[in-house]
């Protein structure tokens, strides 16, 4: 049973048992033609109404799953960073509230740090969220107020949009567009508009340079990124994530072990991993928000929940980027039977994210001209070479092997 049919079943149930009776009851309370409740009830009875409701359910489930993963990714980043740096990281847990309780009860706090601060620290996210919401939203006096407000909204909405686009497995998918990965990449490239908008609207020189850097970086990395993806699309013959994963699972070399795309297209895999790192703006490619020279770049003037939006959106983009990498090159949700495919998918995504966290905390940031040079002079030719190899494998070799009966290699 796929996610969507489950949602449809749930939508039917809620519509029949809850929504339609409520709206009909409401209609009875008011004189006719003053209340649209009756027409809503009628619409919910049709197939279109049920489908719309089912979509709402599906999107919300995908969103909830994505947000849960977001919290886990942030937590993972904090903990691994702390371990790399010889620290413990956040240790806040429910037990840590003991001191607060003691304080509220009027007795002196016992300061038992070892006992009280020994949790895994997942509550730190909650604390940060509460803090961010509680902060004042400062808008600079000379900022363009409309664009200043729109910047974070564009950024977070395009990122949250990503969450519903990629499937966790062939059954757990909120959307199943045939051009799935193209839509994902399109959603990926909306965010720079938000960055540029907020960088310009802040009326701050640091922010503006940050926004410019972001635009330049994404311009130069989008092309090798899409070219390295083109190899996979050629192999699968489709943009659909489900088809791509099936194709990877179907191609096998020996003993029936599937050959995932990262082996035949190793160059493409490397190029893709570097480009997606630049796309989601993580160290060493986080130039737009370089804190050393640009004071967090385009986020300088933002405070409170708007700043939190930027942070969250970055992690969502990171998660989505890792998910795309998994679908394209690491066999997606395919894996041995007893473990469900969703878990396999998330395991692979988290492995990529952990790899990124290790990179983030062990290398410095590179410079603007160097990043552009890397993008245009090294990654672009490499992605083209990868594409040529794939064309040879998929089109040219089979064509000639039909004529002169070459051995079947690919």
């Amino acid at each position: 049973m796929s996610l969507f049919s489950f949602c449809k079943w749930m939508a039917e149930w809620t519509a029949q048992k809850m929504l339609i009776p409520i709206f009909e009851f409401q209609e009875g309370l008011f004189p006719p033609f003053t209340n649209p409740a009756g027409s809503i009830a009628d619409w919910l009875g049709t197939d279109g109404g049920i489908t719309t409701l089912a979509w709402l359910y599906a999107v919300n489930i995908a969103f909830a799953v994505g947000m849960t993963n977001l919290i886990l990714v942030i937590h993972l980043e904090r903990k691994i960073a702390a371990r790399i740096q010889d620290r413990r990281g956040p240790m806040l847990s429910f037990r840590s509230f003991r001191e607060l309780g003691e304080d509220l009860a009027g007795s002196a706090p016992s300061w038992k740090f070892k006992e009280n601060y020994a949790g895994i620290g997942i509550l730190q996210n909650l604390a940060d969220g509460i803090k961010a919401i509680a902060k004042e939203l400062i808008v600079p006096a000379k900022a363009d107020k409309f664009l200043f407000t729109m910047g974070p909204i564009i950024f977070i909405s395009s990122s949250v949009f990503l969450l519903v686009l990629f499937p966790l497995s062939d059954r757990f998918a909120a959307s199943s567009a045939p051009a799935g990965l193209m839509v994902i990449m399109a959603a990926f490239s909306i965010a720079p508009i938000g960055v540029l908008t907020s960088g310009w609207a802040s009326n701050n020189k640091y922010s503006m340079i940050g926004g410019m850097r972001s635009a330049a970086q994404l311009m130069s990395y989008e092309i090798p990124l899409l070219l390295s993806m083109a190899g996979v699309f050629l192999m699968a013959g489709s943009y659909d994530p489900v088809v791509i994963v099936e194709q990877q699972q179907a191609s096998s070399w020996f003993f029936g072990i599937p050959i995932w795309n990262f082996i035949p297209q190793f160059i493409g895999f490397i190029v893709f991993m570097i480009c997606i790192l630049a796309e989601v703006e993580r160290v060493p490619f986080d130039l737009p928000e370089a804190e050393a020279e640009l004071v967090e770049g385009w986020t300088t003037e933002y405070s409170g929940i708007r700043y939190m939006f930027f942070l969250m959106a970055e992690y969502i983009r990171g998660f989505a980027g890792a998910a795309v990498a998994t679908i394209l090159f690491l066999g997606g949700w395919a894996g041995p039977w007893p473990i469900p495919p969703e878990i396999w998918f998330l395991t692979k995504v988290y492995l990529i994210i952990i790899f990124w966290i290790f990179i983030r905390w062990s290398v410095p940031r590179i410079r603007t001209d160097q990043i552009l040079e890397l993008g245009w002079k090294k990654l672009l030719p490499l992605s083209l070479i990868n594409l040529l190899i794939v064309i040879f494998m998929v089109e040219i070799y089979p064509y000639f092997s039909e004529i002169v009966s070459l051995p079947e290699v690919f």
Binding site: R87, K205, I209, A290, E291, E293, S362, V363, T368, D369
Partner: protein
């Protein structure tokens, strides 16, 4: 993109203290720079004229919070020259040990501050973790962790505590191991070298003329270290070499300056070991220390950041008539338009970080 002035500081992650660097940028390229000082000016020289000679060590401790012993030592050395005080031999050895420990702590502080400038926060925590060990060592004889006030006119405050040598040896051994470990993370790392090599270049002759001294000058290949070239304490008796690096013939870049400091830390460890080996027994404070002084004297010492020079004029009273402090960073910052021009905005923290700014001593 049109040219524009960007004001970095006084509150900016690049500044490492309170000062302003105004840079004129053309897009991302630096066209001009204008440093501004004075945000941390405490008029130490004027204050010193109203205090007795021995009281001023409190002020000199606060000249540079990262390297307080070296500054106190420079002052004390000058006043001893002025008063013609003979320092006991053991005190000289203890001073040398403390100076080198302070140099290690100061260089580690610098290395830790330099890494976040390049976007490498882990490096900061690694180096500061090691600095902690040296602060513990400095704390053992002096009793405080940042502002020691340990070196006094005529000697040192008290003798080294028991077991200090063994503890120091343990720390130094660990530190040497860790430096070898860090080599993979920093100087052998491709990205680190991409950021530091061929950035912030200046030649040795330029540096000498602009008044750049210390590790920054040695990073251009000039063999000039006041511990050898104007020997004080017992630097001429212990066994050590001047560390130099150059990025190319006669010029240095950020990477060579980084490597000079790393080499210097290894050399400091060598000096400390040799000092412990040769240290004689005896008193640690001169028996007769005058209060008044007449005449003038200057002394220059190799501070962690370069040439520290103090010039004291006494008029026969117990307070200095004029006390002048030369901070190496004062001239180095003044020269920053020379070595910033032509580089990118992202290079500003890399360059200004590599010259090891301390605003406390610069603003006096």
């Amino acid at each position: 993109m049109a040219e524009m002035w960007i004001s970095m500081g006084p509150q900016h992650p690049m500044t490492h203290g309170l000062w302003t660097l105004k840079v004129k940028v053309d897009g991302e390229t630096i066209v001009d720079a204008d440093p501004e000082l004075g945000y941390l000016h405490r008029s130490v020289e004027k204050m010193g004229e109203r205090r007795k000679y021995f009281m001023n060590t409190t002020l000199t401790d606060r000249l540079c919070y990262a390297s307080s012993t070296t500054w106190t030592h420079c002052y004390v050395n000058t006043v001893e020259e002025l008063m013609k005080v003979e320092v006991p031999q053991r005190a000289k050895y203890i001073r040398t040990i403390m100076l080198e420990l302070q140099r290690l702590a100061s260089h580690l502080m610098w290395a830790g501050a330099y890494m976040p400038d390049l976007g490498h926060i882990t490096g900061a925590l690694y180096f500061w973790r090691d600095r902690e060990l040296f602060l513990n060592l400095l704390e053992a004889p002096s009793g405080s962790r940042l502002l020691y006030n340990y070196i006094r006119i005529g000697g040192v405050k008290r003798d080294l505590p028991d077991g200090f040598e063994a503890k120091t040896e343990r720390v130094m051994k660990l530190f040497e191991q860790r430096l070898d470990e860090y080599a993979d993370l920093f100087e052998n790392s491709k990205i680190f070298r991409m950021r530091t090599e061929d950035v912030g270049k200046f030649t040795a002759s330029q540096a000498q003329n602009l008044g750049i001294t210390g590790p920054n000058l040695r990073g251009c290949g000039t063999k000039f270290d006041l511990r050898k070239h104007d020997a004080y304490e017992i630097y001429d008796e212990v066994d050590w070499d001047i560390q130099t690096r150059e990025a190319g013939p006669g010029y240095g870049d950020c990477f060579s300056r980084y490597m000079v400091r790393i080499d210097e830390m290894k050399e400091s460890v060598r000096i400390i070991r040799d000092c412990f080996k040769k240290m004689p027994a005896g008193p640690t404070l001169a028996s007769q220390i005058p209060v008044r002084a007449q005449g003038e004297a200057f002394r220059r010492t190799e501070d962690s950041r370069g040439e520290a020079l103090m010039y004291v004029v006494g008029d026969g009273s117990d307070r200095p008539y004029r006390w002048k402090i030369k901070s190496p960073m004062f001239t180095t910052i003044s020269a920053c338009p020379h070595y910033l021009k032509g580089y990118k905005v992202a290079d500003i923290p890399a360059i200004m970080g590599s010259i090891d700014i301390c605003i406390g001593e610069t603003d006096k």
